[in-house]
Amino acid sequence: MSLAGYEFEVQRDDGLATEEMTLNMGPQHPSTHGVLRFVVKADGEIMRTALPDIGYLHRSIEKISEKVGYHGFMPYTDRVDYVSAMQCNQGWAMVCERAAGIEVPRRGEFCRIIACELGRIASHLLSVGTMVMDIGGMTPFTHAIREREKVNNLLEDLCGARLTFNYMRIGGVAWDLPPGYAEQVTAFLDRFEPFIAEYNDLISYNKIYVERLANVAAVSKEEAINYNLVGPNLRGCGFQYDVRRDEPYSIYPELDFDVPVGTGEVGTLGDCFDRYMVRIKELKESCKIVRQCLDMIPDGPVLARVAKKLKPPVGDAHVRVEASRGDMGWYVVSDGSEFPYRTKIRTGSFSAMSIVDKLSRGIMIADLIALIASLDVVAPEVDR
């Protein structure tokens, strides 16, 4: 475990000597959203740079896909991003469907979107909850977790698991909605929507919280695109782009929803607070989408018949899915056999981590926590 390149340096300015300090944060750190490590070079409290060291959760999911086949890989996609596993399921299902030319029944698409948006609510709740916990407030976290449990219960009714759903199949979904599900979900949404306002009361505009986040680590739009920031992080810069709206897939074109963007309401445009606020606003949009889907859902089958040994034709396919942490790229190469030849997953957290080095220059060490939390990094999504 060499620390090549991070040697101790002494800098001498005029008169007063300042020593540059090399600190090690992680891999086991209570507020790093998983096992991440940062090598921080600091001058007093001000960071010169924070170099991320990742790979502590590299589980070689891409290699495993080459061994388990197209259908068998579905449970593994849950573990790519366990906080919002639904969208990963959808990404894999969609890329296989694209490669093999499979059509999904309409009701199946609706089931997918309902599940995905519920998953997005759960993911954003955890994101804002842990963000507050990282900043230092323990109670709001339990509030967020309490609501998340309710979403988990709904998803459990739908697909029998709380976290690793394995709900989707290539060609549709594995389970239809259980009887009375629409009422259950509506009841939850009725209860949940006022909760968002409560959360704003509790934390969003809290003076201390705002002071910790405003004007910290602002990203400009050009920078964000160049580093390929995606999802809420990109929208936090005030750039209105959402794969669901701009490169529509599934049934999203039929749905009516807004794409919230950062407005710089308490500080610079694109700072930590804007990224946080986009997530809070997206909770509302997801509720809206779920309600529409429940109204519009048609009758019919949910799963198309697909060969047990799926053999897509030789070639490659790439799809982009708007997951909770942004645009997720799924790339699969098929060599005509029943095993994928190569799978590549490009995730939102990966590019978000690559910008940390740049953003951390010149901010305080304590702000690094706020920065990581606001980027909503999930370790396995970085490492896969």
């Binding site: 579905m74 449970p75 009714d157 739908l158 394995n166 594995a174 409560e198 003076k207 799963l303």
Partner: protein, 193 residues
């Protein structure tokens, strides 16, 4: 100077005010219903009984209706199911001599129960299985070799097997039925005008 003191005081006031705003939300929880489920002993019903039928807990096998088709063993991506089903030479019937599931390795994905033709292997709502050693976490379902179940034409009549089969079918009914999209579309088009 005056303005900076004024700003400082305003910040202090804001901070105190928003803290109380937040605390009022927290305080309102004193009159709300408690949310904790007092597992394991102080719940009205067992937690397992409150879980939906679809819940993917620890696997269970109904040997009475296991056909020995090995579909589950093949479907498992990580080989945590091992079945030995040799043919009995004398009677030419299939014997089940071993049906082991490693619940420490199982990933509870449901791919095995999806392919089961009779619903013999299924997830239960049971989740308690913590133990002190890995060896004791292997579930061995076959004690003595048993005959594999053979599907009958028509209704199942054996009073011992029928209820088990009914239960298995209940699990199977949860899974979505795949359709042939071409056929389905054609039917839809014919039905439309």
């Amino acid at each position: 100077m005056v303005s900076s003191i004024g700003r400082y005081l305003k910040h202090a006031k804001d901070a105190v005010a928003t803290i109380f705003e937040g605390l009022s939300v927290t305080m309102s929880h004193f009159v709300r219903k408690p949310y904790t489920i007092q597992y394991p002993d102080r719940t009205a019903v067992r937690v397992q009984d409150t879980l939906p039928l679809r819940y993917r807990g620890i696997l269970e096998v109904d040997l009475e209706i296991c056909t020995g088709c090995l579909a589950c063993e093949r479907a498992c991506p990580i080989d945590c199911i091992v079945i030995d089903a040799p043919k009995d030479k004398a009677t030419r019937a299939m014997l089940l001599s071993r049906f082991d599931i490693d619940i420490a390795k199982c990933m509870y994905c449901g791919l095995c129960s999806e392919v089961c033709p009779t619903g013999s292997i299924h997830h239960t709502t049971e989740f308690e299985g913590a133990d002190y050693s890995l060896e004791s976490m292997i579930r061995r379902f076959v004690k003595d070799p048993v005959l594999a179940y053979k599907a009958k034409k028509g209704e199942e009549t054996d009073p011992l097997i029928a209820p088990v089969l009914d239960r298995g079918m209940e699990f199977l009914a949860e899974w979505a039925e795949p359709v042939d999209m071409k056929k389905y579309k054609k039917e839809q088009e014919e039905a439309a005008p």
